[in-house]
């Protein structure tokens, strides 16, 4: 029997088992009681009517409570969405480019978007390309690294495992910005700053990605060890177990890690600004757009910033909403396990 079949069988077995477990919950109708007897039973013990007055009172308070909740939630939605509508409105404003004391533009148009791509100062296309490349490369490699570390730490008990985990815990408590200056000097020695800053940033993201193994490890911890053992009996190597059995079961966490890796470069302005060191070409969108808001630029480029913000937010938001389910799974799993 090949390994493929083995793992497939194991998976099938698992699925069957789950289905069986699910079936138990549905009570089969007891054949000893007739339909009338059952309804009689129900009338007497289950659907006992409560005192009328209390029921009505409850209903009224419930309705009031629900109305209040609807009002609160509606207000919240408005408050939460207001800034985003604000950004969108401002991005269509044509009459001026700086800060204004109103939200609705007096003259609508696509001027800011056109400017974003044509103005030599705002190098938006380059920034966008940089960020996209960073996101794609980082997400793939970071996922590989994180899964590797978390799998190794979750499944194996080897000498030095505790030491390694403690090490990562302790060094994780140091603030990340502490090492900015050293990393900059190191990377500039290898010519990976300024124009090449995206590559330097990719290197930094990837190299430190193993530190964030907690969530994936928590996930791997929940996968039953009996799967490994069964495969081991059938002669699978550890690598085959990882790639053919565990990995197919880990789709949610893989997608979560990819999503996180992809989204990180879009919001990172600290590292990006520092590594690019005032070189326009080396910015990512965050650093670039933030640069448009510096004191000397804000009056000319505020609406351009809004347009850029909209263009960045749209793809990210769509991607995020599509994969929302996995994000929720990852975040809540991580929160519960710590």
């Amino acid at each position: 029997m090949t390994e493929q079949e083995t793992s497939q069988q194991i998976l099938d077995f698992d699925v069957d088992f789950n289905a069986a477990a699910a079936n138990v919950e549905i009570d089969p109708p007891d054949p000893n009681f007739t339909q009338t007897e059952q309804t009689e039973f129900r009338k007497r013990f289950v659907d006992v009517p409560r005192p009328v007055s209390r029921l009505v009172g409850q209903r009224v308070t419930n309705r009031i409570a629900n109305t209040v909740i609807y009002i609160v939630l509606s207000i919240m939605c408005i408050v939460w969405l207001l800034p985003f509508f604000g950004i969108v409105f401002e991005s269509f404003r044509c009459e001026s480019t700086g800060l204004e004391g109103y939200i609705f533009p007096k003259k609508w148009g696509f001027d800011n978007y056109v400017r974003l791509f044509t103005d030599p100062t705002s190098n938006f296309l380059r920034w966008f390309g940089n960020t996209l490349a960073m996101g794609l490369i980082t997400s793939v490699v970071q996922t590989a690294f994180q899964l590797a570390v978390s799998y190794a730490l979750s499944r194996n008990r080897f000498k030095g495992r505790k030491f390694l985990m403690n090490m990562m815990l302790v060094f994780g408590m140091f603030p990340g910005f502490l090492t900015l200056i050293l990393l900059y000097t190191l990377l500039s020695d290898w010519n990976l700053t300024m124009t090449n800053a995206p590559w330097g940033l990719i290197l930094i993201y990837i190299a430190s990605s193993g530190m964030g193994y907690y969530i994936a490890k928590g996930f791997f911890d929940t996968i039953s060890h009996s799967l490994d053992e069964a495969a081991r009996v059938d002669g699978a190597t550890q690598m085959q177990i990882f790639f053919k059995i565990i990995l197919p079961l880990s789709k949610p966490i893989v997608i979560y890690t990819i999503l996180m890796g992809f989204m990180a470069p879009w919001g990172d302005f600290v590292m990006a600004t520092f590594m690019a060191n005032n070189t326009n070409n080396g910015y990512n969108v965050a650093a670039g757009l933030q640069w448009l808001l510096t004191d000397s630029m804000i009056n000319d480029y505020y609406t351009t910033f809004c347009a850029g913000g909209v263009l960045v937010a749209i793809p990210i938001t769509i991607l995020f909403m599509l994969l929302q389910k996995y994000y929720v799974a990852g975040v809540t799993g991580g929160a519960v396990k710590g």
């Binding site: 499944r155 140091f174 502490l178 900015l180 050293l182 190299a207 990882f242 505020y302 710590g338």
Partner: protein
Amino acid sequence: MKKKKAPDFVTVELRDGSEVNNEEVMLFKMNGVSYLACAPQSQPDEEGREIVLCRRQKRSVNVDELPVGKFPDGGMFWQQLPCGEEQDAVFAEFCRRYEQEAQEKRRKELKAAEYLKLNRWQRFVYKLKAFFCAIPRWFVALFKKIGRFFKNLGLKIADNAVDLWRTFRYGSWSTRVSFLVMGFGNFAHGQWLRGLLFLLMQGAFITYMVLSGAHWLSLFGTLGKVATVEVYDEVLDITIVQHVDNSFKILLYGILTIFFIFAFAYTWRLNVKQCRICDEITRSGKKVKSAKDDLKSIVDDQFHKTLLSLPVFGIVMFTILPIIFMILVAFTNYDYLHDGYNNLFTWVGLENFNSILTFGSGLSVAFGEILAWTLIWAFFATFSNYFLGMFVAMMINKKGIKIKKFWRTILVMTIAIPQFISLLYVSNLFADNGVVNAYLIRWHIIDSPIHFWTDGTLAKIMVLAVNIWVGIPYLMLITTGILMNIPDDLYESSKIDGANGFQQFAKITLPYMLFVTGPYLLNSFISNINNFNVIYLLSEGGPARPDWGQVGGYIAGDTTILITWLFGITTGAEANYKMASVIGILIFVVVSVLSLIVFTIMPSNRREDDFS
């Protein structure tokens, strides 16, 4: 005197050849000699179990008598006591201690019974009190631990030395050669792959040390002697400034060299050990692992090492090494004046820590206030988000509320949009000439703009408020699932008992949530201490407080937290790297102490059945 914690697993070989392997072991000292008392499990009768007493032997002087390989109980040797006076004395001492122990145990049990009677608040106070009472003991334990660490280190080195000596004395000739030429033994046993790797390691190490390692190491103590020399160029007829030493590089490569030396020492030891193992295997007539087996083990037995190698290498090079570098920088005078290139920097000891921690100096005032605000900020940011987020989740979860998915989706959508966009926009929204002020003036609610970001107190309130705006969707997401997991019958039964909504929340929901999300709360507290984005994007740490003075050309402000201070000092016009790393270390201290405290008195330590 308290009982020494017995090792989890003790294996003692007794004179008659039987082995004691048992958890009921007591270690104690009398007249400076260590004794061990245990009841061998081989004797079935619980009551009449004979106590076996052993005395710790001094390390055997004659190396040849040592058993090969396993040393029982981490290198300690125990010998069963013969009958006689000594045995009687030791037995009496043992009985006394045993009785003492039993009493202590009874006393503790009494405490536990009392503890169960307390209500939740009293329990919390009790835990807090116990925690602070335990602090002196911690320090004692810490020093003891450090002492034990060095003792164990010494023992380990001694063990290794003994093992090395034995390996050399009894090893085959190829093993002896591999003391000098690494990997030779492996070659002799046909393990060419391992041999090659060892040999390569040795070659690389020697080449590195000769070419540059020795140079960096020799300058490590002073971090360079000469920064620049002026050389007369005859061709151009001018003097040219030449850079000689670079403190920055000396420090960096010095650390790297030390890392490398340790790695090499470990590899060398591994090489000798493998030769010994090969010798033993050959002697017993079996076959050693071939290179093919080694290659196979990369994807099988040793697969975890394959997985870990690259990520851990990355972490060591880009996280651990830089952090160690920056920790060492805190003990130098590295700043924009002493950049290590034009002007060398050097070791200054604890001077930087003195300047920030000395009571009354300008810097320490700033540090104290910023630290206080950081903690206040982290506390309110964490708990306001936590309770409000939970509240929103409960509102959406409530039975009878329709289009639940719609409300959630809208809130979740705000997570997706990169923070720098939304926060920068919000920051400008509330600027002095921003939209909010403009509308308020137009509607004649105020006459002059409210200084949201330039008034100290208002700025603090604003960052907290906007942080709630940022945080609620996250908390809503996290708590929704957990809230749904609370069994409905708990609520039903409490309703029958006449509990109102608030009581239900306080007695059922909150304890359950605290229990489940305890670790998360700690994590979010720590991440709020380091919550750079919200503070920096909204107020940039302002309004500035010139009375605190500047560090590194950066003037901290009312909303500055430690992490933005660190950033400002690092990137300021007169970058002051030494102070930045001192602050980084202090952040680490704060974070680790807090984690320690919280882990000791965390609600998750409570038992789950407290909730019913």
